[in-house]
Amino acid sequence: MQRTRRDILLFMGGGAAGAMLTPAPWRLVTDAAIWSENWPGIPRPARGEITARYTNCALCPAGCAVRARCVAGQPVSLAGVAGNPLSQGAPCAFGLTGHQLPYHPQRLKQGTPEEAAAAVRGAMAKCGPGESVAVLDLAPGRASSWTYRRAMAAVANGVYLAPPRPLGGAAVNLAKARTVLSLGAPVLDGWGTPGNVHAARANFRLIQAEPWESRTAALADEWLPIRPGSEAALALALKDPKTAPSAAQATGLTEKQILDLANELTASGPALVLSADDLPEALALNQALGAWGQTLVARPEVPVPDAWKKAAPERVVASVPDSSIRVLFIDESVPGSHIPWSAVEKKLVRDNPVVVAFAWSLEGYGRHAQFTLPTAVYPELTSDIPPAIDSPAATFRISAPLVAPPARMTDPSAFIAKAAGMDAGNALQERADAIHKSGRGTLFTYADGKSTPLKDIKPDAFWKSLNEGACWVDDAAVGRASWPAFLSSPHDTQAEPQSTAFPLLVAFAEPRTASLTSPLMSKLYQDSDLRMAPNTAALHPDTARASGIAGAARAVLETQYGRCAIGVIPDESVPPGMLEVAAGPEVLDICGAFTRAKVVAA
């Protein structure tokens, strides 16, 4: 029989009907739905044994103790260590995402250490009289810092440079404070060790004198909204009331307010005055209030091996003659305070200086250096963390690696020591041994939360527990000497330009560091408005209008040191005449302490 179109149709119809009576169509529909649960692109978290490992956070000078939850050895989340004498188990947003930094998309992976070494050798040979080889160490006080100092002592005309120490290296004893006056210092927002501050918070009254309502101002016991740039005048008036009238003029407070505040500071002591950038006036006020030995103390040195004593002195960049540095090493492997490139650049010799930056990303000085050598990043790196500003006792803790650093990473201290023709050795352990030899203090181990006198611990056990998460806390009595000279001599502050050229005053809303944060921080500044993204500025709508950028999302920030593109956010909580800026490498390059600026249309 011959087939007709109709037969074929019927056949297909039968097929369809029959198929309905088989599992096939239903199974396919189900599978398709399940496929939508695990279609390509959805990662599967690795499984494995879950363990807790301990280390210390190297992302800021606080160096909080960290408990890492690890799956098959890989940290998947970080938390504080409860009961820790220094950080009290209180983490911060940046620290909580630290374990993701090694996977940052902008991470620096390649470098040319051999070429860099060769170039350095050549330049050092060429280094004439009056020229110098310098190391700029952003986080001074570490064992590697000592290596740099020794290396610079070893080479002819070597110079060791570090950022000016806050409070000249003195320590704050918050536990003693009853009244704290903060002139724009972010006391509750990243100053010192968060856990320590919050623990002491209940015992002192916090008065925040700041033009805009920062996170600290919002939670201070009293907020004095003063005019931008009038902090110094206020401090002065509090020291001698005769200037109160003029201070009232400058700050916009009433004379009575100022005098009452002055009385309070003296009446309900011990008092402490903190300022965003170590105002000389603030230091002087501290001296007048008799803070020294009470809330401001000289911290005993962390012991170092005697062999290290032959070391180059620590100097600030400003103290070096201009165009005198031929070879400059910059170690930013551990985030520290930032020095504007403009300030560094003018110290370099004119004819091709060699600048070698050690960094884990190209965001910092790497943008300006001839050679940028990739380093390990927390939590890969091995480094000790100097005592925090709010720790009156000397401390020693190690940021031990939780993850193995990738191959082809450079160790800055080894590199620099080699360039100086010396051997860095195992500086970290040497210093640990030196501390152990001193026999002072106690060791707090994180895993079991026990404190043990150092006397009862063997050297190797000490070293071992330091690497497994522990901190050594000194018990030596703090010096009660008289007001030290270094606090009276104010460190350099860049000359302020006339306010006419640059009408706006820059205040930093976020921690002032150039180092990258975890991609996950985008939850805070992109998925919400809680924090500002790097290189953005908030300003009053009127200010924006006056600057001719009303309604614009981007603009150009201009200071005496240069200009850079920024994002702008209109915000009525920022007083007119002020810029509330989130630090980013570009912004930091053109902003020093007390910078005046202007914004112009992009």
Binding site: G41, I42, P45, Y103, S522
Partner: protein
Amino acid sequence: MIAPNSKSQPSRERQRAVSRYGMSIDLDRCTGCGACMVACAVENNVPPAHEGATARKGITWIRVFKVDNGEEGAARRSVFVPVLCQQCGEDTPCVHVCPQQAVEVDPATGIVGQMPERCLGCRYCMAACPYHARFFNWWDPQWPAGMEKTLNPDVAPRMRGVVEKCNFCHGRWHAAKERAAAAGKSEIEAGAYVPACVESCPTGAIRFGDLKDAASEPAVAAKDAHSFRLLEKLGTEPKIYYHSKRDWVRQVAAAPKPPNGKENARG
């Protein structure tokens, strides 16, 4: 259609509930540092913001808002308000509306659970939630290369096109239950289970516990005169109790006021 039956459903929850987990948030302690937000994202495998994401399209199971008293200059005061799923206990708005039972109030814990693998992505629950505590996966989840190594194995990553929200770090509840089981116990004792935001809060502003246990911090806070819950008049019985000694701060619980023309661009 069968009645939404506002009364019987939660009361059944009450009877069977072994515990009713709740939270108390002290607004006088919150510094707005954002630790809770990142800790939450880390714990629950929430990917970094897609470059196209905004404060309106982002996924923040807990989000801290900066709220001011509307005053100008010296009189201006601000407070930071962490907002997460309020874990409504009574006539839970999102549960009734879900067409395919992807949302349920867990009888054992009182936690409002969202099942991404069951979710159709119709977003009806988001329209129903007065606290805007539910979030849609507008993009495929993406982590920078290598960062997926840091994912938490106790929480399954979600796929594009589904709704997700805070579930009191339910993965931690599972883990706690398993630890208890290893010790031969079928129930977990207080303190063995704490969400990531609570653990990460540096000032201890966020406290967590079982509201059925009168000694737990939230249960105590619930009785405090200075405690309040968001939009209490809606009768959704949230299990998140806020606390502030400042009178104006407690006004954030109320309905919005008509606009005064001035909007804080920073939320």
